[in-house]
């Protein structure tokens, strides 16, 4: 039996090593992808070979340089107006990423605060906040966006306000449920026995324990926000047309999917990459913040 144990230990050790490597890779890849995208967004004027809005009708619908018939001048090809897709993606990252991060930050903060207050206090305050949330959930964001676009004029600020004004409701719903559950848990009763104030209980005991669902929702929202931005821009509430954003680019290429798929594909691919990277990163952050999972 002794020799059997030795073999297994060696095997297990090897497996563990592989596993550790793999899990490190699962962190490094998304971090690198997000870092590259964010950096290229920041340094867009230095990186982009062309202006994102410069129209060159003579060079329209050129395939990417690595495909047959592609011109070496345009790495990812050109769109229907002859604009360089690669440059537009780099500039588009600015709008798409900053929009989704800003909106997630605002809605996540507001939704978490309202959710915790609603779930912890319960009673009338809870009913009031939740009815308010129901209303927010039922109004289409597009309607608000269009109204705001009329009132404020279409701009980046308009779509941020339009998405934030209702977007907190999803967070509030989930966080409120968690807070209600936590309110009944023994350690919260213990905190009251000790003499903790409500404020302290909400910050020290409820908030750290709702981080898991919060991270999950927030990471899932990244992709959704990019798409919402595209929709709003398409409807004319967001960034006016010549300026690139990923969602708007996917939209632009719709009519050319059969002949010039690269117009829609590459920005769509970037959206997918960001969403996937955020999901993995979110999982990792969640595990890091949870002491029960930290050692695994």
């Amino acid at each position: 039996m002794e020799y059997l144990r030795d073999i297994n230990e060696a095997k297990i050790e090897k497996r563990m090593e592989l596993r550790r490597k793999f899990s490190r890779l699962m962190l490094i890849i998304p971090v690198v992808i997000l870092a590259l995208l964010i950096l290229s967004a920041i340094f867009a004027p230095l990186l982009a070979p062309y202006s994102p809005t410069e129209i060159a009708m003579t060079e329209r619908l050129q395939p990417p340089s690595f495909l047959k018939g592609g011109s070496p001048k345009h790495f990812l090809g050109t769109d229907s107006l002859g604009r360089d897709v690669f440059s537009r993606i780099i500039y588009g990252a600015r709008i798409s990423l900053s929009f989704s991060l800003i909106v997630i930050f605002i809605t996540g903060t507001v939704g978490t605060i309202l959710g915790i207050i609603s779930g912890y206090f319960g009673g009338r305050l809870d009913s009031f906040i939740m009815r308010f949330t129901d209303v927010a959930l039922s109004i289409p964001a597009i309607l608000i966006a269009i109204i705001l676009a009329v009132g404020l004029g279409p701009s980046f600020k308009t779509i941020v306000i339009a998405s934030s004004i209702l977007g907190w409701s999803g967070y509030a719903r989930v966080i409120r449920g968690e807070a209600m559950r936590l309110r009944e848990v023994d350690f919260v009763a213990q905190a009251r026995i000790i003499g903790s104030s409500r404020m302290r209980i909400m910050i020290k005991h409820i908030f750290p324990n709702v981080i898991n669902p919060l991270i999950i929702i927030a990471t899932m929202m990244v992709g959704l926000m990019i798409i919402i931005e595209a929709t709003l821009s398409y409807l004319g509430a967001g960034i006016p047309p010549p300026n690139p954003s990923w969602g708007a680019m996917v939209n632009d290429g719709r009519n050319y999917l059969e002949t010039a798929w690269w117009i829609s594909f590459f920005p769509g691919f970037c959206i997918g990459l960001v969403v996937l990277s955020c999901n993995y990163l979110g999982d990792w952050i969640r595990d890091k913040l949870d002491p029960r999972l930290r050692r695994l």
């Binding site: 848990v185 350690f187 009763a189 000790i194 003499g195 750290p208 029960r292």
Partner: protein
């Protein structure tokens, strides 16, 4: 006159029950009904009964997690239900602490042991971090844990160790009274004795009073000086531990002792039969008239279902049964 630390006087707790579309009031649950008890300084009182008997609710009214509908709690002779928020925080809360039943849920999983044990200090006593930490180490030592345990998270400990941490936290503020809600029932049998001994040692060292909530009679007999047997929100028998166990009067107490493992089968008298109660405890929403125990009482008489018995003093303890009126 005994040195009474805490006294519950005529505590009653009612919970409204609402049903249906319009949330109409369909009745009141009498979770605790006119319960009075007192705890002497440095002594232990146990509340014993089946689940649903109102033990925990009584403890909640003492810990002010919920306020009694009527009646009051007197601490060192003062009615704490008259205290304002500020007085409670200064004069009452820090002096009455608790250890809960389930050591797996009584600690925030995201806090380290040092923060868990230090929390009462952070909330109540304004001291430096260093002072708090020194106190934590001292407390961990008192409950038989090591200083290095302070850096760990609760999930890294066994149930027994967690309960020690919970005891350390309860002692942080040097309380006068500790409410122990089933302090050992969630633990392995093998470590129950350790925790009970620890609690007894700490009681002697700090002159602590305990209010123990339990259903295990062996635990109760070992730990307490006084016992109150509860049934359906009322105290049915109340007295000194030894006296009550040696000479149980109420039929319910007899049934509990008979069903417990305090007596081994070979110790029983030949003619002594095991008393097994039939049925479930009736709903507290609609308690039986007269004596609440009459529906299950082996010795019930006609008057039991009509007239509620008064609490009477028999010998050294009090009992609520028509047999002794």
């Amino acid at each position: 006159m005994a040195d009474i630390l805490l006294e519950g006087r005529n505590l009653t707790m009612l919970y409204p029950v609402r049903r249906g579309l319009f949330q109409g009031l369909i009745g009141m649950v009498r979770a605790v009904d006119n319960v009075s008890f007192s705890i002497e300084r440095g002594k232990t009182l146990s509340l014993v009964g089946e689940s649903g008997a109102g033990k925990t609710t009584t403890a909640k009214s003492v810990l002010l997690l919920e306020r009694a509908t009527s009646g009051s709690v007197y601490f060192e002779g003062k009615d704490i239900y008259q205290y304002n928020k500020d007085q409670l925080k200064r004069e009452y809360r820090p002096r009455v602490q608790a250890v809960q039943q389930n050591p797996w849920s009584s600690m925030n999983p995201r806090m380290r042991v040092k923060d868990i044990v230090a929390e009462p200090l952070v909330v109540n006593a304004k001291q430096s971090k260093k002072e708090n930490y020194d106190r934590v180490v001292e407390l961990l030592d008192q409950v038989g844990l090591k200083a290095e345990h302070a850096e760990h998270f609760p999930h890294e400990f066994s149930g027994g160790q967690r309960q020690r941490i919970a005891v350390a936290r309860a002692l942080a503020l040097n309380p006068s009274l500790v409410v122990l809600d089933e302090p050992v029932s969630a633990l392995d049998v093998s470590i129950r004795a350790q925790i009970m001994n620890l609690l007894k040692d700490l009681q002697e060292a700090h002159n602590l009073s305990y209010l123990v909530i339990a259903h295990n009679l062996a635990t109760v007999r070992y730990m307490s000086h006084g016992v109150a047997i509860m049934y359906l929100g009322q105290i049915v028998e109340y007295g000194d531990t030894e006296d009550l166990f040696e000479n149980p009067l109420h039929p319910y107490t007899n049934a509990l002792i008979s069903a417990s493992d305090l007596k081994l089968p070979e110790d029983r008298d030949q003619n002594e039969k095991e008393i097994i109660l039939s049925g479930e405890m009736p709903s507290p929403l609609n308690p039986p008239t007269g004596c609440r125990f009459h529906t299950r009482c082996p010795e019930a008489r006609p008057e039991c279902s009509k007239i509620e018995p008064e609490m009477v003093t028999v010998g050294k303890h009090q009992v609520k049964c028509h047999k002794f009126v």
